[in-house]
Amino acid sequence: MSRRFLIAGLVLAAGFASPVLAQEHMPGKVEIAWNRYYTYDEVERQLHEIAQAYPHLVSLVPIGKSIQGRTLWVAIVNDPTTGPHESKPAMWIDGNVHGNEIQACEAVMYSLWYLTKAHGRNEMLTNLLKDYSFYFMPSANPDGREWWFTGAHTPHSARHNIRPFDNDNDGLIDEDPADDLDGDGHITQMWKEDPDGRWRRDPDDPRIFRQVPPGQKGGWTFLGSEGIDNDGDGRINEDDIAADDMNRNYPSDWQPIYVQTGAGEYPLSSPETRAIGEFILAHPNIAAVQSYHNAGGMILRGPGASYRESMYAAADTRMYDEIANTGAQMLPYYRSMVIHRDLYTVHGGFVNWTAEGLGITSFTNELWTDAKLYQGTVTSPDERQVWLWRDRMVFGQTFSDYKEFDHPQFGKILIGGPNKWSSRNTPTFMLEEECHRNFAFTMYHASCMPKVSFGRHENRRTVDGLWIVTIEVRNEQVIPTRLAIAASRRLGLPDLLTVEGARVVASGRLNVWFDRQMSDHGAEPARVLLEDGIPGRGKRILRFVLAGEPGDLVTFRYQAEKARDVETVIELTQD
């Protein structure tokens, strides 16, 4: 009795001490299990099911075809009762441009699934869709995804697009792909017993090969990854059907292949990148971008190269930091990082284009990190701990046992080792959590998109009968209507405030509400262009000198590419 009481007390105490809550089940019209991965065919079916289940919210748009003819889908999610999707700031969310980084697709699909089923059931997400629209592209590289699922791979292959390409510049095309010699669906490793070999098998765990110190003989030689020398040039697996890294194929800071491996023929040279590029250019309302990759647990922003660091003004980096730092709390074991500084140099990357070429707040999340294997207890697991995980947590499923094989060139060898599931992709039983946390982060990011409104205004009539109207235009959200990079590099179009209903004699800006004099906007005072837009959580104060009769109605209209148009009507009366 007392024991039960104690437990009840503990539970109660825990309830008070911690804000952790369960959620009530929110039934959806489409049920999808998030503890597994799906082929592109299956993803396409899910897309159609969701589109059919929520026809008022989702329109499924084919934006092009992959090289192998798969449809490139974008799911547009919008609440039409508050206007067409183009009229609202939109967030672009894509994944899986690297075919092997498969959970990126599930992260996008989960987001689409959750956002649609929450509509009308969850107040915050329902309201979010009143203000903003979303463009979801689950897989930017369906050919690579399909190849990764159906072909034999390492965790790292099937990253690129697939087209004839002479990877090793020897005049032959795709002449020496990897070969799944043991037919297990994975490309693993080849080992040969060799008296002079420099490797030995660990006596405690023969699955582990260790290099021996100089002077010792280990008995095994490492022959590289599974394959044969198909073209007789002495090298193995040096030219497969993969070609371009499509995340190096975007226009900003694009560099030729001798500077950036995988860059492709020219910016947007692949039909996939081309379709995405054209879609994004045709939707200047996109005000936020998230692109999912794996792995490493990172929230990455540009620039991709050190020499572009100066493009990121302090105002912009403060905003990036605010969003990313919040994200780092929502995504345990993720760190906020800058691509060139904390990862590596990237020329022609996707988010580098959207951020530096289009002026859109953009992040790349690298899903999954080994820090999540043991979570807080071990953030950097050693080899022994990785093996423990493989054996005890996933029951050996990420390892292909060594098998003897008669190799045409090397004779009797062993083939085996960690298989294509052995790194990078989230263990399936942890997938839903990873998807949800990232989904939540993008919803937070989306909620930062600009929201413009007219604030207070003041009418004053001068002794000579002119009206002086001072009016505030506010942006309550974190992201400005025009990033500093957009203003300084003239990306996109400036914001525009127009006045109708009275003759505007002069107009200008005030720095603070109490300024007595305004700046001089010059010609066309009824049409004020604001290259610098409205800052995040900020405002612009504009003043108009008008000629009109008392009671005249004057319409002020604010247009921004990355905010909804707003209008207010002010009557010319003395305040």
Binding site: W254, P256, S310, L493, Q559
Partner: protein
């Protein structure tokens, strides 16, 4: 502009099919050659090329491409390209047996058609893709216009305009020749008295004059090489225009192409681009690779010999087809305006006095090769050194970059600037003074600050779009007769056309103005009578290039019996041509496969030697020796192939028997 009549007839005839226009005269012979349509322009015209080849598969022989008309104003390029095509067939059929010439005479048919349509011309040769030049959310709403109805859209100069127009004073009237406008010389206490802007109205009533005309994208800034990112006239992204994309796609596909010649406003052959300077990545050449300099210098000499050109207009090569073909595709490429002002030609003992009499020929300007390094050694930052040694276009671009920098960064640069030696500071200020008419750039206690041009248009379309004066030429207007402007004026006086005298006019917005200046296109296109000579010259240039092409020759030089059916085989490949088989940049670019020497027998019969040898490049006369040890019955044969992307395939059928000649000195 008289030349347009007859020439456009010719063009219409021979390229009716290619350019989607009906032939104007039905009985003129077309160019004998296969016509290929490689794409369609923005307005739906065909982009076509003529394939000149008199024997064999044209795509299996080393090829040269001639591209003209990227800039629609440069009609002379289009005409000369067509003339060269015809003349090559008439006079050089022999060279076309072993080589192919692809002539893409009209790369921008929409712009060329617009230029030829007659009526006052806007000084713009790019595409018509809508562009909001002045970023006011209205597109193409205020074009340059022939305000005074004299048939030309020239310039307006306004003396001391009312401040209500918001114009910046940038120019003075030159004292030597009052037709010329130049920057004031601050050292002489001069102050700008005039604003100069393109002829036009304020069609949209926004208070600015002709600030947003039709178009578009400058195709020669739309290629991926050093693409001027975020410059509106360079396009939304590289190759966003159907014209540039069609050319790029075709050239990427055409593996046998060795060289690309561009006829357009900018020269890169009389003045060979600087060697060994790299972009910000340290890998992409700003000009050419150091190892390609000798090849280019030799070609430049030959080109100058043929054309007598001694100087030619340089220009910013960023985003250009020529730069892309070289630095990204790894091909031999150069551009030429085809025609230069007579005083830019070498004089030959007065035998061709026409045109060169009035203005003395200018000595070629020596290009200091490592000026930049010297400047850095003297304490200039790399940026400043680059600024001082850059071509005017690039300089302007750098100034514009500075303009768009965040304030704190600009301040940091200024602080750095003030730490540099005063000589360097004053040189920078001098250069900035020179740029004044283009961008209204001023000085303030040594700190740099920049303001926008008086209007959107004159700087871009009136000035910068035209080739700027060559570095080393005197600053505009120091004395009227030696500045580039002055030389053009002297030439127009001699030619009797090309410059509209300033005429007073009462402008509806600006009030009293004067309208006049150079007629658009005048500085690009010669009088009609020059066409024949130019076609001759450029035909000779192409023939010269074809006759110098690399010629890799493979021979079996050794069959040595080692006994027991084992043989040592030696094969030698020699480049018997003048040019290297591939430029140094070609090796770097990896866009074409290297030459392959392949021992085509079962791999296990090869005891020594790789079955495939890659030969990256062979300079003139350079030899590459390969040996294999193979097994084979005496009297049987082995096959060795030399396979190349550009020079076809050579098959050596080698009998395994001792030879008298074993490859020594022959």
């Amino acid at each position: 502009m008289a030349h347009n009549g007859i020439w456009s007839l010719t063009l219409g005839v021979c390229c009716g099919l290619v350019f989607g226009q009906p032939p104007l005269v039905s009985d003129s012979p077309p160019i004998p050659g296969e016509v290929r349509v490689i794409g369609r322009s923005g307005e739906g015209r065909n982009i076509g090329l003529v394939v000149l080849s008199t024997e064999g598969d044209p795509d299996a022989k080393p090829g040269i491409v001639i591209v003209a008309g990227l800039d629609g104003r440069h009609t002379i390029g289009v005409e000369v390209a067509l003339g060269v095509a015809r003349r090559l067939v008439e006079q050089h059929a022999e060279l076309l047996r072993t080589h192919t010439v692809y002539v893409l005479a009209n790369a921008n048919p929409d712009a060329v058609a617009r230029w030829r349509a007659g009526g006052p011309r806007i000084d713009w040769g790019g595409t018509l893709t809508p562009r909001d030049d002045d970023r006011d959310r209205r597109i193409d709403e205020d074009p340059p216009t022939d305000v005074n109805g004299d048939g030309h859209i020239t310039m307006m100069r306004v003396r001391l305009p009312s401040p209500m127009h918001g114009l910046t004073l940038t120019h003075v009237i030159d004292t030597d020749d009052p037709r010329l406008m130049r920057a004031p010389d601050a050292n002489k206490g001069e102050h700008a008295t005039h604003a100069v802007l393109v002829e036009g109205f304020d069609a949209d009533g926004d208070g600015r004059i002709a600030e947003d005309g039709p178009g578009g994208v400058d195709l020669d800034r739309n290629f991926p090489y050093l693409w001027p990112e975020a410059a509106a006239d360079a396009g939304a992204y590289p190759l966003c225009e159907p014209e540039s994309r069609a050319i790029a796609d075709w050239l990427i596909e055409r593996q046998n192409v060795v060289a690309v010649i561009v006829y357009g406003p900018k020269d890169t052959i009389v003045r060979v681009p600087a060697a060994g300077r790299m972009d910000v990545t340290g890998r992409v050449p700003l000009g050419i690779e150091e190892d390609d300099r000798a090849t280019y210098d030799a070609l430049s000499e030959a080109f100058k010999e043929v054309t007598r050109q001694q100087s030619a207009p340089a220009g910013d090569n960023a985003g250009s087809l020529q730069g892309w073909a070289y630095a990204h595709m790894g091909l031999l490429s150069f551009s030429t305006p085809v025609w230069v002002r007579p005083d830019q030609l070498r004089r030959e003992g007065g035998d061709r006095g026409e045109g060169s009499g009035a203005v003395p020929a200018q000595a070629p300007t020596p290009q200091p090769r490592d000026e930049r390094a010297e400047l850095i050694a003297q304490g200039a930052t790399p940026q400043v050194a680059e600024f001082l040694t850059a071509a005017p276009e690039r300089r302007r671009a750098m100034a514009m970059e500075l303009l768009s920098m965040p304030a704190e960064e600009r301040e940091a640069m200024q602080a750095e600037f003030l730490k540099m030696p005063t000589e360097i500071q004053s040189r920078v200020m001098q250069e900035i003074q020179r740029m004044r008419p283009e961008g209204s750039v001023g000085s303030n206690n040594g700190a740099l600050f920049f303001s926008q041009p008086a209007t959107g248009r004159p700087a871009r379309r009136g000035g910068a779009a035209q080739p700027g004066p060559a570095p080393g030429a005197s600053a505009p207007g120091v004395t009227a007769n030696t500045s580039e402007e002055g030389k053009w004026l002297a030439y127009s006086d001699e030619r009797g056309e090309g410059f509209v005298e300033w005429q007073p006019f009462v402008h509806p917005t600006l009030g009293k103005v004067e309208i006049g200046g150079f007629i658009p296109g005048f500085r690009l296109n010669p009088p009609e009578m020059e066409l024949d000579r130019l076609v001759d010259e450029q035909t000779a240039v192409v023939a010269m290039l074809l006759s110098r092409m690399a010629r890799p020759v493979a021979d079996c030089v050794l069959v040595e019996p080692l006994g027991e059916g084992v043989w040592r085989i030696g094969v030698r490949v020699i480049n018997a041509g003048e040019l290297p088989t591939r430029l140094s940049i070609g090796v770097k670019a990896r866009r074409r496969a290297p030459m392959r020497l392949r021992m085509d027998i079962e791999v296990d019969r090869i005891l020594s030697g790789s079955p495939r040898r890659l030969i990256q490049r062979l300079a003139k006369g350079e030899r590459h020796d390969s040996q294999w040890i193979v097994r084979g019955a005496p009297g049987s044969r082995v096959t060795v192939l030399l396979e190349t992307a550009e020079y076809g395939t050579t098959v050596l059928d080698i009998p395994l028997e001792p030879r008298a000649d074993q490859g020594g000195e022959r």
